[in-house]
Symmetry: C2
Subunit: 387 residues, 2 copies
């Protein structure tokens, strides 16, 4: 058996008693530009390649560092676009060549995670995979590890398992998970059945969800036995599954892989794993959730970035940028800068200023979700040089 490397930093008491974690493999789909974070995030510098927390390293590297203690760094697979190969390798020097899966173009999460599942199941039947976005921010790692360990146990018992985040406020930017009855699974004492997945609610609904105590944020984390995941994909999207299995069959034969990708990948249906797997599994009573009690944010827009970097103090001005020279007078919000220009703010509240060498964004936290519309306008108006 291929024992994962459990580093010495592994939290005390967190070492799982079951052995399902020995079969655990982390998958990091590193796709998505993060259009709401333009002009910081863009095609050649997507969100996961940025340090958005002032930690000194990229979100991708943060994700890796969170998962390495769980699966061992030889058991982390990254699925990303061909264009990002060099950047990902630079960020993750320990990533095995075998574990770099390159997409010729983005085909959404079912294709990305499903391909990883198919490849890994061929290599190692019975493997349990956990898919974690490359560009989310997570607080206490011990609590994260504890939740994943439970999720792996639930996955080993045959459930498609997600980790739902205990909401700290009635956020309207996230989807919610409506929890059902407790399930009795060894090694997963807090596992619950999932009743339904719900889309981003309005504020009143979100307040109701938070008050109810039985709703969690959908953080897009899925843990499952690879064979179970593929089974679910096959149930809702049989053609997509067929394409993935065909790819997986030749994946480890370099001479055949490239041709197969070119032939099959562009035709795969674009569908989020929430729709192809999670919702049908919830309906079938085979979706479990482990409540996560750690801080989590998908950093979906600059308002969330501002909150994340101001420690929750709304009156503060958060500043992100290695060479930032910011002078602020009676201003709040966030300045993100990639230049060393002097940036001076006077009397602007909840402002968002994003300063890059070739593009500048000025908006407010209230309008943060509208940033994507600028990207759309730039696409239409021939401003693609800055996208």
């Amino acid at each position: 058996m291929n024992l994962p490397c459990i580093p010495s930093g592994y939290p005390d008491g967190m070492k799982p008693r079951n052995t399902s974690l020995d079969r655990f493999y982390s998958v990091i789909p590193a796709g998505g530009i993060g259009s709401r974070l333009w002009p910081l995030s863009r095609a050649d510098a997507p969100k996961f390649l940025h340090d958005l927390t002032g930690s000194g390293q990229t979100l991708l590297r943060d994700t890796w560092d969170r998962l390495a203690p769980l699966s061992g760094d030889q058991r982390i697979m990254v699925v990303t676009g061909r264009a990002h190969r060099a950047a990902v390798e630079a960020q993750l020097p320990a990533l095995a060549d075998l574990n770099m899966v390159l997409e010729s173009e983005p085909r959404d999460s079912t294709a990305a995670v499903g391909l990883a599942a198919a490849i890994l199941e061929r290599r190692e039947p019975g493997v349990i995979i956990g898919s974690f976005a490359a560009d989310h921010v997570i607080g206490d790692r011990r609590l994260f590890v504890a939740a994943v360990a439970e999720a792996v146990a639930a996955a080993d018992a045959g459930y498609i398992t997600t980790i739902g985040i205990k909401p700290t406020e009635p956020a309207i930017g996230f989807g919610y998970i409506h929890c059902g009855a407790a399930i009795d699974i060894e090694g997963a004492p807090s596992a619950l059945l999932v009743d339904t997945f719900v889309e981003k609610p309005d504020l009143t609904t979100a307040e109701h969800y938070v008050a109810s105590g039985d709703h969690l944020w959908n953080a897009g984390m899925f843990i499952a036995r690879a064979d179970r995941l593929l089974e679910e994909i096959g149930r809702s999207e049989p053609e997509l599954l067929a394409g993935l299995l065909e790819l997986a069959e030749v994946w480890d034969e370099p001479a055949k892989r490239g041709q197969a990708v070119d032939r099959i990948w562009p035709g795969l249906k674009k569908i989020a794993i929430d729709y192809s797997v999670a919702e049908p599994a919830a309906a079938a009573g085979t979706l479990a959730v482990i409540p996560g009690h750690f801080d989590w944010d998908d950093v979906g827009d600059f308002a969330s970035l501002a909150k994340l970097n101001s420690g929750g103090r709304k009156s503060d001005l958060a500043i992100l940028g290695e060479n930032a020279r910011v002078l602020s007078d009676a201003s709040s919000g966030i300045v993100v800068t990639q230049t060393s220009r002097v940036i001076s703010l006077i009397g602007v509240k909840d402002i968002i200023v994003v300063d890059t060498p070739d593009a500048l964004l000025v908006t407010t936290t209230e309008n943060a979700q509208r940033v994507k519309s600028v990207v759309d306008a730039l696409k239409l108006s021939g401003g693609t040089d800055v996208l």
Copy 2:
């Protein structure tokens, strides 16, 4: 007699009937950085060297073009800092060497205009000078020319004469002139005595001034016989006058000038001509005012620049910049850019964005007057590289 060159573009019917205009000499004090327009205006690129109206030429050049029809381009003197010599020469190729007066350091308007008066009075006794800031914006030139022609006649009659602007709104950023009785002067039918000069008022007082009908904006324009101007300076500031006369005595002897400037100029008292000349003359009943009915603005801050460039439509976003690439959604105010960066604004009202290669300002029209405080903060904090 040295007849001024009256170009063919001289407005019909505006040609003065008196001959005092033959003795008229324009003086343009081109000093002052315009700190409230930082980071656009700065030590090496002061306000008068910018095109702030989208006219395609600098305010200095606009000023020259306004005055040339009045005095002829051989009779315009520019008083500026040594550092701006090349820039001024480039802007004003017709400026005679003899008419370039260089200050070794700024000593405020009494010294600048007084030196010009002293030099010109020595060269041409009986000369009438008119001093006009290099960095103001003026609308209808025909109305301007008409007002100056009247002011020259009043000056010839011995009055220190100013041109006061008919207020169009209760501005709190300008000083006001309280008008008194009409004076009977040939060639100056609208001349009035000045009762008092009043400092920038609060809004209620300003509203009262505008309603009264007998208050004008102080636009800092002074027209006087040079001997009368020097006499007034001597009355309030005898030491300053002595220094100016000593400088003027050697001014046209290049071998002696430099040494005299180095010795005398730095010791001259810094005082605005409003205090040394206009207020005492008003008190003595020798200050006249010609009401000007043309549009005028001192472009004192970015709020006024925004208003100037939006045609008064507050809901609009004004854009200044040759290579501006601005995308705006539900935003108003002004963008001034010296770069070709894409600048995107979303949902920001009354915003001021000033984008230069090494400094960026974001504020609102309401806070426009506070920009100077940033310049002060930069001086204190070692940020002088961008001042």
